[in-house]
């Protein structure tokens, strides 16, 4: 008889091609980076950049802004998480959604908005007549200012991690403590807070690592005051291209990666022995009545949102509507000139719109196909190879964007072997870096939707006589449609607003929206930068609203701002 194929077997080409693509997107560039850093060290000792005082000043700045920012994130995130998960305040959903918005905003826009909100030239303060006199230094151009904004930007990460932990605390655990004789305050201290601690630790470490890798905030706030962090140091090194540049870039990137790894190691250490999963039936979450404190707590939370969200955005809008820098906004001075300028007259911004739309759409759709194939493989094959595959997908997303960008520069700076042309300086290098960086974002909704599908649905189709292609088309794709939609919109959203990777990889004609905003601000056109930012923020909110509509068809945990 004819040789029978192996049961369960997917076509061999599927595994081979997925594995190859993932190797190219992850292992090859990272391996190239590690090789460049280590080879130079072995050949001629430590790269000189590591011996410069400037490098260690940037290292200290990175550490201090990230650690201080982490404390700000923990304070804000924990307060909002506790209030929205455990208390009886009103409008929790709306509070949570608004609090998550800073996370989805591009950091350079956050920084720009805060600069427009404070300082002597703020159109908002000028309009209100409370601007400090001209010549007063902008208070945000400082270590404290960078740390504060990093804190605000990453507070949602702490909020989410903690909220997930709090939601898993079953009500009966709290009720048992009450029956044992503990008053609500005591229950909070003895039961709820210890159980919420793992989430807090995890959130704090993500906030720290994100702070280390953040480029947009220290670029806008630090560069004018000559306060460099490691990401902005890499950026300025690349701008002043020299013979030692590649070895320097590799060394600085490895230094940054080492800080992140150390942060995660501390987290592992803090989390060990704190695995509190599967404790009782998680149904309803406990709720503490605040009584007379409810109104003040609600007012406090909304006030925080007013300061970190509404005021900066109002300042951004105001500065996009004034005709020139430093002019107060009144009914006489209001003008839409900046919008007309960026939408129709400035070729730089028009090109940037086109580039970002092309990059985001191509990355989103390309990654969807890749995620689909990968998720299918991950569910049907087990073993070390698949675990390794998942790690390879996660690393580029977890690494600071700057590090990834440097890896791709090193990989593609030389002409491609055998083809004779270089990808460096073209839009394709940005696209490949995006594919690498956002693979994990795209995979998550698809994989969790796949995991939720009863495997019997596919098995029933097999027994009915459907082959692989037929099953994909008739059974899996229709069921997966909402998750696929979420994957595409999420990647589009994030890629459209991306600055860090493209700041290092762009060249004339391939600038993205993030780069355009940064360059406009850098060259002093803060009105144009603000107008462009307002449009980007409007687009983000629209896409997030679209995902909210999809949300009820999606598995839990797919949307980053919902748990």
């Amino acid at each position: 008889m004819r040789r029978l194929p192996h049961a369960n077997s997917q076509p061999g080409w599927l595994f081979a091609s997925v594995f190859l693509v993932i190797l190219l997107l992850s292992a090859v560039p990272l391996g190239r980076l590690a090789y460049a850093g280590l080879a130079a060290t072995f050949r001629s000792g430590l790269p000189p950049v590591l011996l410069e005082t400037g490098t260690w000043r940037a290292f200290a700045n990175t550490l201090s802004t990230s650690v201080l920012g982490m404390f700000v994130s923990v304070a804000l995130g924990a307060a909002f998480a506790l209030a929205t998960s455990l208390s009886d305040i009103r409008r929790k959903r709306l509070l949570g959604f608004c609090f998550m918005l800073p996370m989805m905003m591009p950091p350079q826009i956050t920084a720009l908005a805060w600069v427009e909100m404070s300082g002597p030239a703020s159109p908002l303060l000028k309009t209100l007549g409370i601007a400090p006199p001209l010549g007063t230094p902008q208070p945000l151009y400082s270590i404290g200012g960078i740390a504060l904004l990093l804190g605000v930007q990453h507070a949602p990460l702490v909020f989410l991690a903690m909220q997930a932990g709090l939601a898993a605390i079953p009500r009966d655990v709290v009720e048992a403590a009450r029956l044992s004789g503990a008053a609500p305050r005591r229950v909070l201290r003895d039961i709820v807070l210890p159980l919420a601690l793992p989430g807090l630790i995890a959130g704090a470490s993500i906030a720290f690592v994100s702070g280390v890798g953040n480029f947009g905030i220290p670029a806008i706030l630090g560069i004018p005051a000559s306060i460099l962090t490691l990401p902005t140091l890499v950026y300025s090194r690349l701008a002043s291209f020299g013979s030692q540049t590649f070895a320097d870039l590799a060394a600085l990137s490895l230094l940054m990666a080492a800080i992140c790894a150390a942060g995660l190691a501390v987290q592992q250490r803090a989390l060990s022995g704190r695995d509190y999963r599967t404790i009782g039936l998680s149904g309803a979450s406990p709720v503490f009545a605040l009584g007379p404190w409810r109104a003040p707590v609600e007012a406090g939370l909304w006030l925080v949102l007013l300061v970190i969200l509404a005021a900066p955005f109002a300042a951004l809008v105001a500065s996009s509507l004034v005709p020139a820098y430093g002019v107060p906004l009144t009914t006489e001075t209001v003008s839409l000139r900046a919008y007309g300028e960026i939408l129709f007259r400035q070729s730089v911004t028009v090109t940037a719109f086109g580039n970002s739309a092309f990059l985001a759409a191509t990355a989103a759709l390309g990654l969807l196909v890749l995620s689909f194939a990968t998720a299918y493989l991950l569910l049907h094959r087990k073993g070390a190879a698949m675990a390794f595959l998942l790690v390879l997908i996660e690393i580029p997303y977890a690494l600071p964007g700057i590090v990834l960008a440097v890896a791709f520069i090193l990989l593609f700076a030389a002409p491609l072997p055998g083809l004779g042309f270089s990808l460096y300086g073209t839009i394709w290098i940005i696209l490949i870096a995006y594919l690498s960086s956002f693979f994990a974002v795209s995979l998550k909704p698809v994989l969790s939707a796949f995991r939720q599908i009863d495997p019997a649905l596919e098995e029933a189709a097999r027994l009915s006589g459907a082959g692989l292609g037929r099953r994909m088309r008739d059974i899996l794709l229709p069921i997966m449609a909402p998750a696929a939609g979420a994957s595409v919109v999420l990647v589009f959203l994030i890629a459209c607003n991306e600055l860090t990777v493209s700041a290092l990889l762009w060249s004339a004609g391939t600038q993205t929206l993030g780069v355009a905003i940064f360059n406009l601000d850098d060259s002093g056109s803060s009105d144009l930068a603000s107008a462009l930012s307002v449009l980007v923020v409007a687009m983000i909110v629209a896409l997030m609203a679209l995902l909210e509509v999809l949300a009820r068809y999606l598995p839990d945990g797919v949307l980053p701002w919902r748990r």
Partner: protein, 341 residues
């Protein structure tokens, strides 16, 4: 149609212990076999090997003239002409009832009017024709079950596999569905293999019961045969209600024990080696003469009282009684029959 033969079938997962160990079994054409065993005994793995979702690590499966699974390869499920009712029913949520049932036909190239007619015929059999345009989400548990059954019926498969299909239904619905399954088997004449851990279900439905434990096949027999003459302690404990007592059986080789033999054993008169003896509660009843036993417990179950009796050595014996007997009292019982395991 065809006979299904399993030859020394084994399945071991990487490094672990064998989930199925050397099972040989023949299911005759048109038979209805129940695979019975506690959870984790390997019965679902066995079923999945028959369907082609798992590949045996040793042995083979033959359907009619064709070898369909060996350790080297397996015919893909989509080419086996089998059908399965899954525990979760596995209805495709994005298709209507009619689309779910008609899908296997569609894959076989049936179209248009013929597709509609054959789909409706299958739905008629399970009395769901008027719900054809509903989505599975709008159906009750029993209705979903019947849709899954209709989907099996529609292509006249060689073998129909059922994986604990009644596990998610309530007790009243189970009785009605058992009726539907029996009816379906009689009407279609398909070979059916039914996995369950519920012995009452297996008894009520199957023409043959195969008992599995820890990956091994312990006994295959007709329901009445396996009830009256179980082989070994595991099968004896799994099938029906019964007490397994360790008693000295003397020199006797006879396995079927009558009233006199039972009484002699229970009073310890025979002496000799200890053997496991199965005594069913319906064979123990209050009588004018017999042996005196203490009543430990008496529970009213509706149609009668279920008694727990204590022997002199403290081991317990189940019995039924029409009258209530006070716990703690002594009463005389007659033990009509026993079976040496």
């Amino acid at each position: 149609m065809a006979t299904l033969i399993l030859n020394h079938l084994s399945k071991a997962y990487d490094g672990g212990r064998a989930a199925v160990n050397g099972v040989s079994l023949t299911v005759r054409d048109g038979g209805f076999l129940a695979l019975l065993g506690p959870s984790g005994c390997g019965k679902t793995t066995l079923l999945r090997m028959i369907a082609g979702f798992e590949q045996p690590s040793d042995g083979s499966i033959v359907l009619g003239e064709r070898v369909i699974s060996t350790a080297e390869g397996a015919l893909p499920p989509e080419r086996r002409n089998m059908a399965m009712v899954f525990q979760s029913y596995a209805l495709w949520p994005h298709m209507t009832v009619a689309q779910n049932v008609g899908y296997p036909l569609k894959l076989r190239g049936v179209k248009g009017e013929k597709l509609r007619r054959k789909t409706m015929e299958a739905l008629d059999v399970v009395r769901l024709a008027d719900l054809a345009e509903r989505r599975p989400a709008a159906l009750s548990g029993g209705q979903r079950q019947r849709v899954a059954l209709a989907r099996c019926l529609v292509t006249s498969p060689d073998v129909v596999l059922l994986d604990e299909p009644l596990a998610n239904l309530d007790r009243h619905l189970r009785a009605a569905m058992e009726e539907t399954f029996r009816d379906f088997h009689a009407r279609s004449g398909a070979t059916m293999i039914y996995v369950t851990h519920d012995q009452a279900e297996a008894m009520a439905l199957a023409t043959e019961i195969a008992v599995m434990s820890e990956g091994r096949l312990l006994q295959v027999a007709a329901p009445n045969e396996i009830y009256a003459r179980p082989e070994g302690k595991v099968v004896g404990g799994l099938i029906g209600q019964g007490s397994i007592l360790s008693l000295p059986v003397g020199a006797g080789r006879e396995r079927s024990l009558d009233r006199a033999a039972c009484h002699a054993l229970l009073l310890g008169e025979a002496g000799g080696d200890l053997r496991d003896v199965l005594i069913r509660p319906e064979h123990v009843r209050p009588a004018a003469d017999g042996i005196a036993l203490q009543v430990r417990d008496c529970v009213f179950t509706g149609e009668r009282h279920a008694l727990t009796l204590a022997l002199a050595d403290g081991s317990l014996l189940k019995a039924y009684s029409d009258e209530r007997l006070a716990p703690g009292s002594m009463a005389v019982f007659s033990v009509e029959r026993g079976w040496s395991l």
